[in-house]
């Protein structure tokens, strides 16, 4: 009985948490008129009322999707901007982050601990703290208002290094030594041992990194003044009774790649999150 009560309570809580997503999906299929009626308190100065939202559209329509997919070229500009930012960032993290994590995990060098500490400190710092210094440097490099201004700081992100470091650390020393005895050089060890064995870590780092990059808001907003360079996460059309439907549909479409990436890397991701939770 007690167990059932707990389950019911948890289901209610889960329902509350899921409600925004469900309303988003349902709203994207609602007609403008219906949305207008539901969102009236939000869109007018009517403060006494609450948003009423039927979860099932009365007259389901694909009009919002047709409008966003066929009649809004700006949506696609932003979608591909998101792709243009995310793919190089992930590429950069692979290129720089994986060797860095391998280095921290398996090599001994002076000030290793200090540098790793700086890495962790930098990882902990919210963007707002480093925003100004980032801006000044990017400005000096004439990178402001270019995609590189977002790609470069994110490409050298410490978070993915930290996750991959955990995975590489778990590779037993004996395997590496055996490889070395067999005559493998440092690069061969990295190529034929570290990458295959640590692939779970690399993929989980990449999935987390993708989710972070796909949803970047502050960085593009700060460093990109040109709207034509903005990513999809900034697709915030002025929500009015007429555009609420398309905004809902745009959010759903923006959600799809994130869900697919998550599904693709789900198994590794769980391990990655666990790895990041282990204390140094």
């Amino acid at each position: 009985m007690k167990r059932k009560l707990i389950i019911i309570l948890l289901m209610i809580l889960a329902g509350l948490i899921c409600y925004p997503i469900i309303f988003l999906i349902s709203g994207s299929f609602m007609s403008g008129q219906e949305l207008q009626a539901n969102l009236k308190p939000l869109l007018t100065d009517y403060t006494d009322a609450y948003i009423a939202g039927g979860l099932i559209p009365i007259f389901p329509t694909l009009k919002n999707y047709v409008e966003i997919l066929m009649d809004s070229p700006e949506f696609f500009v932003m979608f591909w901007n998101s792709v243009k930012l995310t793919v190089p960032i992930m590429g950069c993290q692979l290129l720089v982050g994986v060797p860095a994590a391998w280095g921290f995990a398996k090599y001994e060098f002076p000030l290793k601990k200090t540098i790793f500490m700086i890495y962790i400190i930098l990882m902990m710092m919210p963007f707002q703290v480093t925003m100004l210094s980032n801006y000044l440097i990017l400005d000096k490099l004439n990178l402001i208002n270019t995609h590189l201004s977002v790609i470069l700081p994110a490409g050298f992100s410490t978070f993915s290094v930290f996750i991959m470091y955990r995975f590489f650390s778990d590779i037993p020393k004996e395997i590496i030594e055996a490889a070395k005895i067999d005559g493998a050089g440092a690069l061969q060890v990295f190529r034929y041992l570290a990458l295959p064995i640590g692939s779970a870590g690399i993929i989980s780092a990449m999935v987390l990194s993708f989710l972070e990059c796909w949803n970047l808001i502050e960085q593009p907003m700060t460093f990109l003044s040109d709207q034509s360079k903005w990513p999809l996460s900034l697709y915030l059309p002025e929500i009015s009774p007429g555009t609420a439907g398309t905004a809902f549909a745009a959010s759903i479409i923006g959600l799809i790649p994130a869900i697919l990436i998550f599904l693709a890397g789900q198994d590794y991701l769980e391990r990655g999150i666990m790895a990041s939770a282990v204390k140094e």
Partner: protein
């Protein structure tokens, strides 16, 4: 049959096991491909729906007002050809548009008919003369009767006056005598004398005579009054008789007609043109075998004094043409008569808002009467610093101000976009091609939209047509 059996027996094959990870990756690839295709599709749709515009810039210019109006070449004046009405027409020589010289025969009337009509008129004239002499005789009779009556009445008056005056004199004499007798009676010493009359009877005699005298006076006044009335009556003329005068007028008219008939007869019934010109109008009744009408037979334009161009200008055109202006007349053959002067402008008979303009052309052989020609007058304004093509100017609806659409660059998600901006303007002066605006309302750098393949509004995204680069 076999085919149906195959369908009936069809079993869904178990799908090859694909992990969620692989499936998600495939879906992601598919999703990206779909997004790529939709990107192209939405761009194409956008390119098709976005209006394409052509632009132009403002410039410093003078506004030239060119008035061009088609009109007709006419003669300087017209003459009406008339003849006595009611005569038979033997032949018509004139035709519409025929150029004539002085003395050109226009039509021929029947001489016999003229002779008959002349005879009738002469008889009529004689009748009038007779009736005039009758009327005059009657009048003289009436006049003499009247003067006789007056003189008789005067005589009656005189005799009445003389007769009554005599009676008055006698009555007065008797009255005076009676008075004296009465007055003398008081002086007699012996009142008992035999023949002596008493005073009272003498007084009554006197009073009686006095009354008779007064009666005589009254009778005279009455008689004279009646006599003078008789004179007045006699002096009153009998009813005025103007028969003679009116008949004289009729006679005069007949005499005039006779003169005309005689003149026609002398010319053997041929009517000729009085001067150089062109026949412009022939009355419908003027045909061989017809009868001359009461109105004019035909009109002949007088080209001897040169030609004139006539046209009607509307309200807008009137502003730029004035009497005395030098204008150009372009003929249908593209020949130009330059520096001709506007002679007059007057309200049009049918529409008072329009003005009929007359340009004197003088004697010219570039045009003929009734040719169609075009008046061209060019008036230049002062130089305006902001002149825009007329195509860029848009009329505000419902009395709102005029406005122009200019292109502005707006940064948006799609990059730098061209957006339509509405600017209210004040037109200083305009012609068919350009409009002068107040200084500063539009700059020379601003691109003014002069044409668009779709209807546009302020805020619309547009793109330049290919020709604009």
């Amino acid at each position: 049959m076999k085919f149906i059996e195959r369908i009936w027996d069809y079993k869904i094959q178990p799908r090859e096991h694909i992990s969620i990870r692989e499936r998600a990756i495939r879906w992601l690839a598919g999703f990206l491909i779909v997004m790529f295709l939709l990107t192209i599709l939405s761009r194409a749709a956008n390119a098709m729906t976005i209006p394409r515009v052509e632009t132009d810039n403002a410039a410093k210019k003078t506004i030239e007002h060119t008035v061009e109006q088609e009109g007709k070449i006419e003669a300087d004046g017209e003459q009406a050809v008339t003849a006595v009405s009611g005569l038979k027409i033997n032949a018509v020589h004139a035709a519409n548009g025929m150029a004539v010289e002085e003395g050109t025969p226009l039509l021929e009337l029947d001489v016999n008919d003229i002779g008959e009509k002349l005879k009738e008129l002469e008889t009529e004239l004689t009748k009038y003369e007779l009736s005039i002499s009758d009327a005059k005789y009657n009048q003289s009779l009436q006049d003499s009767e009247r003067s006789t009556n007056i003189s008789r009445a005067q005589e009656d008056y005189n005799s009445a006056a003389a007769e009554n005056n005599a009676k008055i004199d006698e009555a007065k004499r008797q009255m005076d005598e009676a008075y004296n007798n009465w007055q003398n009676a008081g002086d007699i010493i012996d009142p008992e004398a035999e023949n002596a009359q008493d005073e009272a009877s003498l007084k009554s005699v006197y009073e009686e005579k006095q009354a008779l005298y007064n009666d005589a006076l009254t009778a005279r006044d009455q008689a004279l009054k009646e006599a003078s009335r008789a004179i007045e009556d006699a002096k009153k003329s009998s009813s005025k008789d103007s028969t003679a005068d009116s008949t004289a007028l009729d006679k005069e008219a007949v005499a005039d007609k006779i003169a005309k008939y005689k003149e026609l007869k002398e010319k053997n019934g041929i009517i000729t043109a009085a001067g150089k010109g062109t026949v412009t109008f022939i009355d419908a009744s003027v045909v061989t075998g017809g009868i001359t009408p009461e109105t004019s037979l035909m009109l002949i334009s007088d080209t001897g004094n040169g030609l004139k161009f006539k046209a009607t200008l509307d309200e807008d055109q009137q502003k730029y043409v004035a009497v005395g202006d030098k204008v150009t007349i372009k003929t249908a053959d593209n020949e130009k008569i330059t520096d001709v002067t506007v002679e007059s402008m007057a309200p049009n008979a049918e529409n008072a808002e329009n003005q009929d303009v007359v340009v004197s052309l003088g004697n010219t052989d570039k045009v003929q009467i009734y040719d169609t020609a075009t008046l061209k007058a060019v008036v230049s304004s002062k130089a305006y610093s902001t002149c825009i093509p007329k195509a860029a100017l848009r009329k505000g609806a419902n009395g709102e101000s005029d406005y122009v659409f200019v292109l502005t660059e707006k940064k948006s998600v799609l990059g730098t976009q061209l957006v339509v901006e509405k600017l209210t303007v004040t037109v200083q002066e305009q012609n068919d091609s350009f409009a002068a605006l107040l200084d500063g309302e539009v700059t020379v750098e601003q691109k003014l939209i002069v044409d668009s393949d779709k209807e546009i509004q302020a805020g619309d995204r547009v793109r330049l047509a290919e020709s604009d680069g």
